[in-house]
Symmetry: C2
Subunit: 218 residues, 2 copies
């Protein structure tokens, strides 16, 4: 695994974020029975620059052959391993509201090695019910259950104001990687991984471009 | 507005995506009555490098004064204008499922100049009901209502398989900017803006790092 470490640290974040798209294309090609693929074809499917695709894929340690390209199944397997999606990560989800419900029902996660095993909430009306087959437990039980089940991934889908408390409980339960959907900066020890899903950052890109367009018209 | 156009096109996407964080810090400082702020303080609040913050802010066209820094309210106003969040964008939301419900209930959008005015779905059980005060209309009415209300922003929160049809309807209704939450590549004319929220790309960052950590242990 040592070789992955060096490669991954040197992989720029935008490249890493493009890998799931490559994997989706490769899996579709594999399901159609296509055996080899070029950077140009992958790039065409995703509206990307072929040189960029070649560079991104080279960072995973795999090199295509001139005129042949890559073996589809082999490349898919390398990208999947690079992402860690060949091993399933069991995760706890905090928050059984609309966002939590959307996440539990998001089918694509099973292709990404992400398995939500239980949901936690403070609402007595939700505790004991099921969300897409997963039991909803009282939040106060999260710490103990995370320890017992050796859960390493926590998904935070509770409102911003309650997020720090929830994440503190996750960390106390041994969770080391936090996927945060709340618009708040979490305080965590250095050893804990946090990835924030920032809807406002995504909307910023669209609204700034839209504003540009308005400027052009006016 | 011409000056914005040039600046914005040259602003790297990661810088643009950091602006909402700066704005949030600035609004918090303003509400506390703080009048001036340094890059170092903004950087400290967000765990960023002060040089990066200075560079990002310079790209909006504003320059701080040595030893004084920036005027908090002035800087907040410039960043807000740059993002286009000083003008409210009325938007239609397609999909009244869990994800759509989460988006309609997401309070932070009002600070981002985003106003969801109506929701559309194909489920007869949902049509005619209300989601957080917004009426849910039949999807087939979206095109006509978008034209009549001159809506320019569409949010797609329907499943991947139905997304292309929904987005085609949005475009036929005059919508020019699409915020897409479905894990699917949309086919749109070149003049239409699309911003994809890719949950799998965000999860890729966390899972690749988590896999590195496992490598270190093993």
């Amino acid at each position: 695994m040592g070789v992955y470490l060096g490669l991954n640290r040197s992989m720029p974040l935008p490249s890493l974020k493009r890998l799931p798209g490559y994997l989706r294309v490769l899996q579709r090609l594999a399901s159609r029975g296509q055996e080899s693929v070029s950077c140009t074809q992958i790039a065409g499917e995703l509206d990307l620059d072929p040189t960029q695709v070649r560079k991104d894929l080279a960072a995973t340690g795999i090199v295509g052959k001139p005129r042949v390209g890559y073996q589809v199944k082999e490349l898919a397997s390398v990208v999947e391993s690079f992402l860690g999606w060949n091993n399933v990560s069991d995760a706890f989800l905090a928050g059984a509201g609309n966002l939590g419900s959307a996440l539990v029902n998001y089918d694509a996660f099973s292709d990404c090695g992400l398995n939500i095993v239980a949901v936690f909430d403070v609402d007595p009306g939700k505790i004991g019910t099921r969300l897409n087959g997963r039991e909803v437990f009282a939040l106060e039980r999260m710490r103990e259950l995370a320890r017992r089940m050796r859960i390493k991934v926590g998904i935070n889908a509770v409102p911003a104001a309650h997020s720090q408390h929830v994440v503190d409980q996750m960390i106390a339960g041994g969770i080391r990687a936090i996927w945060n959907f709340a618009p708040v900066k979490l305080e965590v020890p250095e050893t804990i991984l946090v990835e924030n899903v920032s809807l406002s950052a995504s909307w910023a890109v669209l609204s700034a471009r839209l504003r540009e367009g308005r400027g052009l018209e006016g």
